[in-house]
Amino acid sequence: MADIAAQPFQAAEQDGPVLAADGRPLKASLARALRRQRLRAFMLVAPLLFFILITFAAPIADMLFRSVENQIVPDTLPRTVLALQTWNPDSGELPSEAVFEAMVADLKDAREAKTHTRVGQRLNYESPGISSLFRKSGRGVRRIEEGPYKEALIDVDDGWAEIDTWRTIAQFSGNYTDGYFLAALDMERTPEGEVTILPDEDRIYLFLFGRTFVLSIMITLSTLLLGYPVAYLLATLPLRTSNLLMILVLLPFWTSLLVRTSSWIVLLQQQGVINDFLVTLGLIADDNRLQLIFNQTGTVVAMTHILLPFMILPLFSVMKTIPPSYMRAAKSMGANDWTAFWRVYFPNTLPGIGAGAILVFILSIGYYITPELVGGTSGTFISNRIAYHISSSLNWGLAAALGVILLGSVLLLYWIYDRIVGIDNVKLG
């Protein structure tokens, strides 16, 4: 007991680390005490962490990997890839007999394993036409019993006589490739190995990325313009009225996304409610009805509606914390309504605007279902293209590369935002 009482004085006298009552360094005791706390905290979040790892982190990692993965070529054509190493693609000559022999052997094996069409499909992304070459050769290669393999293979399909075919195979024979990323950015590698940007008329993705960004910005701005006054009302009205209003704001959350999107189709289509109304009023001619949906207008209108609550809620939660006395103080000092709003109220809502804008922008940049339904051809987003590559063209590598670029640009924006506004200033509730 006396020992313990003496301890603080000892600790004060010595220059070394502060000691706890049992003589161990205070830091170590503290760390031990905290460790148990941390362990407990970890146990509490472990189930969710596990769930997220499996359902979220792992698929993302897999997607990142797919965007550069190219193992199908070296896996399916191992002998050819090996033999091609001695071939100089710039020599202007076809590869040697050994390479052809290796290719015949690989094709026979691939035919057995039924993988020859898949490798053909993979190489077809880089050089259109290779897919059918492989399909046809897969059938014909069975008949080739002995050499010379060069003539035999060219006999099956004269695509094998083209140097570009071999160049493509040589180029994409590695385990990893940047081909998907180049394609995602409307670039390609010429058979000579140079990176070039596609001619204007063939560019798809850059344009789509651009459109996605521009429309997302428009959607963010229109949710802000529409949501700000509503959030203000919500934050300032008496509780009973504001509760009712809040229910109206939240109502969309309780309605199926598909129902909401479809109702916009009903409203906006050429024979729809709005056009009918305008025609009845005589504002537009019956044969000149407005095209309000299945284009960019449709996408912006429907998505603004759908994402509006994500703007209102953060705005509301920030506005709720701004005491009414701020505005009153400003007015008592001689500021008129507008000055009081602009110099005092508005700056205090910036964290809410930031939070809402980030939320809406990030949600809309990756939005899929609404642009798919109401976007027509001119109002679709990059995510619709990704979906197309995942489910129709089955070019998962390209889809993955597009996804990575999308993810990267969101993270970049987030980072820029953090530098300018500061993520700490964002309030979600």
Partner: protein, 370 residues
């Protein structure tokens, strides 16, 4: 309503002002109040009595349901708040968190479109006035409560308003700081000669600072007088009870003469009291006697009113001894016995007599005591 302090024309005038928020209950009932220029007037009253509402009507943030408010000669019911030129200090200070202290102070000057140099010198002067000259570049969140409070006061005064309203400006401060700030605000008021309307529910704050105090209860001014008047000459039971400590005795009026009345207490004994706010004979009344005006075991013939009681509890408080007695009709009868050189020694459980002068016992309107 007494209105003695106004010699000339009133600076602020409430004329039969009523206010209802919901159309059912009047939270301010027929308010008439004149405030002189340069006066420090405090609205004092319990929570919910309508003080803030009155202040907000004066500032223009609430509209009077009925009646008119004048500032100078001008009726201001239809003047928007930003054109009234009234400085205001809020309970939570309402400093703008996104502006520095200097920017906060510059705000009222900027909206008045003053020149940069003028703004700068005024801001510095205002900061010096509240002894925060070096704090101009801080954000409000980096100041202590007391410092924020001073900034709020400086901001309300920096544009030289003729009238400053303060709604419980010291409510969030601890006792010591509050007392210091009371003094500082009073000091500023005296130096600048500005008219101040101050709201508080702390009676000692009101007594310390004010020229006059309006005691509010239930939307009505119960009494409007100087602090000493209010304490020594309360006009009704509410004021007597609300301001300072007060002994109550219930009784029935037996007769009246020359401003005095004879009141029969519950045990049948009669005492004399000042008839302040009483009805006719046989009406009920509440007598109010301050604890320091009561004497225990007074020498014979010194005071006319004497009743018997029993000493229940003695609490030693240094300069005086707080004595709780039970007398007929009140077993919480408090007497403050000064701790003078030759005061009589008392013991708990003893019986004793208490007495007082007739003018120290005020017969007021009857109230029910539990």
């Amino acid at each position: 309503m007494v209105d003695t302090a106004n010699a000339g024309k009133p600076f602020v005038r409430f004329e039969s002002v009523q206010k209802s928020y919901d159309g059912e209950i009047l939270v301010v009932k027929n308010l008439n109040l004149d405030i002189a220029e340069g006066e420090f007037l405090t609205m004092l009253g319990p929570s919910g009595s309508g003080k803030t509402t009155c202040l907000m009507m004066l500032a223009g943030f609430e509209t009077a349901t009925h009646g008119q408010i004048y500032l100078g000669d001008q009726p201001i019911n239809n003047v928007p708040p930003h054109k009234r030129g009234i400085g205001m200090v809020f309970q939570n200070y309402a400093l703008f968190p996104h502006m520095t202290v200097s920017e906060n102070l510059a705000f009222p000057l900027e909206v008045r479109k003053m020149s940069k140099a003028e703004i700068e010198s005024r801001v510095q002067r205002a900061l010096d006035m509240v002894e925060l000259g070096a704090f101009g570049s801080r954000m409000p969140a980096q100041l202590s409560g007391g410092q924020q409070q001073r900034v709020a006061v400086a901001r309300a005064l920096v544009f030289d308003p003729k009238l400053v309203l303060m709604d419980e400006p010291l409510g969030a401060l601890d006792k010591q700081l509050r007392e210091q700030m009371q003094y500082e605000i009073k000091h500023i008021h005296e130096n600048l000669g500005v008219t101040v309307v101050y709201v508080t529910h702390d009676q000692s704050e009101a007594l310390t600072m004010s020229d006059r105090i309006a005691v509010f209860n239930d939307g009505v001014i119960q009494q409007l007088s100087t602090p000493d008047d209010l304490y020594e000459r309360p006009e009704n039971s509410f004021v007597a009870q609300f301001i300072g400590e007060n002994n109550k005795l219930q009784g029935t009026i037996k007769g009246r003469e020359n401003g005095n009345c004879v009141v029969e207490l519950v045990n049948g004994k009669s005492v004399e009291a000042l008839a302040v706010n009483v009805g006719e004979s046989s009406d009920r009344t509440t007598l109010s006697i301050r604890p320091e005006r009561v004497e225990i075991n007074p020498p014979a013939g010194k005071v006319p009113n004497i009743i018997g009681g029993k000493i229940e509890e003695l609490i030693y408080l240094g300069d005086h001894i707080r004595t709780r007695m039970s007398v007929p009709g009140n077993d919480e009868f408090i007497v403050k016995v000064p701790n003078t050189a030759g005061h009589t020694l008392l013991n708990e459980g003893e019986t004793a007599e208490v007495g007082w002068a007739t003018e120290d016992c005020r017969a007021l309107d009857p109230i029910d005591v539990a």
